[in-house]
């Protein structure tokens, strides 16, 4: 297991855990903070895939602009865990079960696909790098 795979699994665990914490935390402000952590983990995946430009744009636009807008609206409305609307337990369980069924169907549909044997270029390749911005590729060919 080399350093790339260790980083991949580390970022994946962070992304999935913080996404789960985002949908389970009662306080909307905590949800926003967990979602920001998810976005940082996804940006780490972009850097691992050598898409530096998208990683930086993801941090600036999503974590920097959109999430600040969410935090601003939540603070404007003074929402907290006491004002969180309550809901039937059974409806929550039905939502979780139907989401799990969707995941099961998608995984089962892709399980025997030929696509899964393909490799993705990790930590190599020059497309998406910041140093290529503004380069005229038609002149190269």
């Amino acid at each position: 297991m080399n350093i790339i795979q260790i980083l991949f699994w580390f970022l994946s665990v962070i992304a999935l855990f913080s996404a789960l914490m985002m949908i389970t935390s009662k306080n909307p402000v905590h949800s926003v903070l967990w979602l920001i952590l998810t976005f940082f983990a996804i940006s780490g995946h972009y850097i691992l895939l050598n898409a530096q430009f998208l990683a930086i744009v993801n941090i600036i636009v999503y974590a920097g602009a959109i999430m600040v807008l969410f935090l601003f609206v939540i603070m404007l409305m003074n929402l907290n865990s006491e004002t969180e609307p309550q809901k039937n337990r059974w409806l929550k369980m039905a939502g979780a079960v139907s989401g799990g069924c969707l995941l099961l169907v998608l995984v089962a549909a892709l399980k025997d696909s030929e696509l899964l044997k393909q490799q993705a270029q990790v930590n190599e390749g020059y497309i998406g790098l910041i140093k290529n911005l503004g380069k005229n590729y038609s002149a190269l060919m």
């Binding site: 998208l54 959109i66 393909q118």
Partner: protein, 111 residues
């Protein structure tokens, strides 16, 4: 790295977003779950772009195949930013009318 890890990671993030939309009643949290689903799709598009680039670069080392998927991701981010600004304005107007962001109060479309 095999592409299937990226596919299953994106599927898991997308389904977490769907579970959030189905189980939460707060309009802002539902909106954030939609953002999470958009990000799962973005991650899959970037992974596919690098997969496509690998096969194209084997034939031609100067190939720029796969760049278009990253441009799609950039456009998705722009659309998401515009969508959030409009959607949050709608949520603020709803809060001014019913003093809550519970989507159950939207079923009458009046107060």
């Amino acid at each position: 790295m095999l592409i299937n890890y990226y596919i299953f990671l994106s599927l898991a993030l997308f389904c977490i977003g769907i579970v959030g939309v189905l189980t939460r009643r707060n309009a802002i949290i539902i909106f954030m779950c939609i953002e999470l689903m958009l990000n799962a799709v973005n991650l899959l598009l970037v992974a596919f772009s690098k997969m496509h680039h690998l096969t194209a670069a084997a034939a031609d080392p100067n190939a720029i195949a796969g760049t278009d998927a990253q441009i799609f991701v950039f456009f998705i981010m722009v659309v998401a930013a515009a969508e959030v600004s409009v959607g949050l304005a709608i949520i603020v107007m709803m809060y001014r009318n019913v003093h809550s962001t519970d989507v159950n109060f939207l079923n009458r479309l009046k107060h």
